[in-house]
Structure formats: structure tokens, C-alpha cells
């Protein structure tokens, strides 16, 4: 079958599809009259909600830090400060995603728009990395000088904090797409809420291969 025959074959089904004129009219009228939301814009409300909750949370922790600045334990102040800084960074990622959503123009070339959409979803991995980085502070915020005067208590707390710090740093540096097939990675990102993010990363790879004129499998 040559090119001409192939294209003619395709056009036979196209003729049937083009008969949908009434349906097109109905949709076009409805869309231009109503306030409708595209699938991409529908991602916005959840991001905005997360940002609002995040702002309330960091505001609350900021107030706690300011309120206990004079009298609070140094352990609490340092832990809360680290926590609030990491939360603000995570908030920054959500803000970046919101900006990306408004910047995506589907009238641009397919690869350009798809790369932006996939990067948007893949950036959620950064939120996970930052959340894990908070691990050690949950082992230190409640400590006080009195508790550390006993050698056994000091040893146990130190051991737990060192272990959590090691785990947090290890996860922060190793949670990346290249490790997606590792068992521990799959255990962490098993739920369906992570699937779009992982698929987007895979798609980013495909886009890069596609641009480079390599056959992707």
C-alpha cells in the first residue's frame, strides 16, 4: 500500500466523523455561553487550597516561635525554625506550580506544552523530598536540657536523632527518578496519588528521546 492509498483509506473514516456537525454546534454554543473550566485549570483549586492551608500552618508556627523566643527551649526553637523554613520551601513549590499552570499555553508546539505539563507534575517529587527532610526535627523539638543530663537518655536521643538525620538526608538525595525501579522507592510511592507524578517523569524521558531523534521503547 503506497502513501496515496494509505491517506485515502484514512479519509474514508474521516468523512464519517465530519458528519458530527450538530454535535459541534451544540458544544460550541454551550461553551461560549457558559463559564467552563478546562482540565488543566481544574488543577488550580487544590493547589490554592494547599497553599492557603500551608500559609495558615507556617503562620501558626511563626507565631509559636516568636511567642516562645525569650522563654522557649533552644531545641524547640531550632526545630520549629527548620520545620517552618522547609514548609515555606514546599509552599514555594506549590506557588511555582500555580504559576506554571497559568503559563501553559496549549497553542504552543506539542512537545513544548507537554514538557511543561510533565515538569509541573514531576515537581511534586520535590515536595516529598522536603517533607522527608523534616524527619529529624520530630525527634528534637520536645527535648530540654534536663532530659539530656542523664547519660542513657542523652545516648538514646542522640542515636535516634542521628538515625533520623541520616535517613532524611539519604532520602533527600536518593529520591529521584533514576531510582524509580528500586524496591524502597516503590514502597514509598506506591499509592495511586503518586502514579501521575511517576508517569510524568517517564514521559519527560520519552520527550527528550523524541527530541533527540532516538527510537524510544
Amino acid at each position: 500500500m503506497d502513501d496515496k492509498e494509505l491517506k485515502a483509506l484514512w479519509q474514508t473514516q474521516a468523512q464519517k466523523l465530519e458528519e458530527n456537525i450538530l454535535l459541534t454546534r451544540k458544544y460550541a454554543e454551550e461553551i461560549s455561553k457558559m463559564k467552563v473550566q478546562s482540565a488543566l485549570a481544574s488543577m488550580k483549586p487544590l493547589k490554592i487550597f494547599t497553599i492557603i492551608v500551608g500559609i495558615i500552618w507556617v503562620g501558626f508556627v511563626d507565631l509559636l516561635i516568636i511567642g516562645s523566643w525569650q522563654s522557649g527551649s533552644a531545641f524547640f526553637l531550632v526545630s520549629a525554625t527548620i520545620q517552618v523554613v522547609l514548609s515555606k520551601l514546599a509552599l514555594g513549590i506549590y506557588l511555582y506550580q500555580l504559576v506554571l499552570i497559568s503559563q501553559i499555553n496549549l497553542g504552543t508546539p506539542v512537545l513544548e506544552a507537554q514538557e511543561k505539563i510533565a515538569s509541573l507534575k514531576a515537581s511534586t517529587l520535590w515536595v516529598a523530598r522536603l517533607l522527608f527532610l523534616q524527619l529529624p526535627i520530630w525527634t528534637t523539638f520536645y527535648l530540654n536540657a534536663q532530659m539530656l543530663k542523664q547519660p542513657l537518655s542523652l545516648f538514646i536521643n542522640l542515636l535516634i536523632t542521628v538515625l533520623f538525620t541520616w535517613a532524611a538526608l539519604w532520602l533527600f538525595f536518593n529520591i529521584k527518578y533514576e531510582n524509580r525501579d528500586k524496591k524502597w522507592f516503590r514502597m514509598i510511592f506506591e499509592g495511586k496519588e503518586w502514579t501521575p507524578m511517576l508517569q510524568s517523569m517517564e514521559f519527560l524521558d520519552e520527550i527528550r528521546y523524541f527530541q533527540k531523534d532516538e527510537e524510544y521503547v
Partner: protein, 173 residues
């Protein structure tokens, strides 16, 4: 001459180019109901992007970009669901009804071949079958003309193989 409102411009535009939307939708989903949802989503996106239309490009180039971008995103969103249900479109067995006219069988084979392609290759194949020039395909997809030619050549080779396999199996029966 009365000035057209954005709503009129939009309605005329989609009516005139509805073929683009329906054909792209058909390439990315096999169920009719889903195709209609997809066409609707494409039209919402066209309506919302109307202000951002760049007149440097042909209107068809812009419409193909929107239609394909919406279709690819939709396809990717539903991919997991389809995989879980075990109804991946490519797995649908091709009818071997010998009473079916040859043209109909070839069309089904072509449709099945397109269904099995990856989302970006699907876009290339649709544009090629739509008789778009390599230069326009390159503009729509965002790759070089030579890259378009190489990729389309590869896909066509696979398609030719598929057609000859089908012919051999038919002659063997």
C-alpha cells in the same frame, strides 16, 4: 459589515475545522462517548486560548496543537485506568471476518496500528495521514523537519510490515 463577536468567531472556527478535532479524538480513544468528551475538552481549550492565538501560524497549525495537546494529556490520564482494566486498546483482537470488505479490514488494521502507537508517534501518524507537510508537522510538534521525516519513515515501515503480515495470513487461510 457587522463585526463578529468572539463567540461567533469561535463557533465558526470549530464548525469549519471540526474534522481536525474529531479525527484527533478518534486516534486517541476508541469509545465514542469518550471521544465526544475529548472533543468537548478541546473546544473548551480553543475557546479559552482564542485571545492567545498567534497569527504567525496557520489557524490549522494552532488547532492541531491544541487538539493534540489536549488529546495527549487525556490519553496519559486514562492510561493507568485502561491498563488496570486490561482493556488496553491495542489488545483488541482484529476481526477476521472474511465477509468484511477488504477496505473495511484495512481501515480497521490502520486504526488498530494507530491505537498501538505511543502518544507522540500517534500525533505524527495522524498529521501524516492528514496530508500535512513535513514543515507544518515540525511546527505543530516542535521538532526539526528532518526528525519528522525520519520518524514518519520508521512508522510507515512498521505499518507496511503489518499490512504484509495481514496479507500473508489472509492468503494462508
Amino acid at each position: 459589515m457587522p463585526i463578529e463577536t468572539p463567540s461567533q468567531v469561535f463557533q465558526e472556527l470549530v464548525e469549519q475545522h471540526r474534522g481536525i478535532l474529531f479525527k484527533v479524538a478518534k486516534a486517541y480513544c476508541s469509545h465514542e462517548e469518550e471521544q465526544q468528551d475529548l472533543v468537548q475538552e478541546m473546544m473548551i481549550q480553543i475557546w479559552q486560548s482564542l485571545q492567545r492565538y498567534d497569527p504567525r501560524y496557520k489557524i490549522s497549525t494552532w488547532l492541531y496543537r491544541i487538539a493534540l495537546n489536549v488529546a495527549i494529556s487525556h490519553f496519559r490520564k486514562n492510561k493507568v485506568h485502561q491498563r488496570k482494566q486490561g482493556t488496553l486498546q491495542g489488545q483488541t483482537p482484529l476481526s477476521e471476518d472474511s465477509d468484511q470488505p477488504e477496505k473495511e479490514q484495512q481501515l480497521r488494521l490502520l486504526e488498530q496500528f494507530i491505537e498501538e502507537l505511543k502518544e507522540l508517534d500517534k500525533a505524527l501518524m495522524v498529521l501524516y495521514l492528514e496530508d500535512r507537510s513535513y514543515a507544518e508537522i515540525a511546527e505543530i510538534i516542535g521538532i526539526s523537519v528532518s526528525n519528522v521525516a525520519t520518524k514518519i519513515g520508521r512508522i510507515k515501515d512498521k505499518l507496511k510490515q503489518r499490512f504484509s503480515q495481514q496479507k500473508i495470513s489472509q492468503n494462508g487461510r
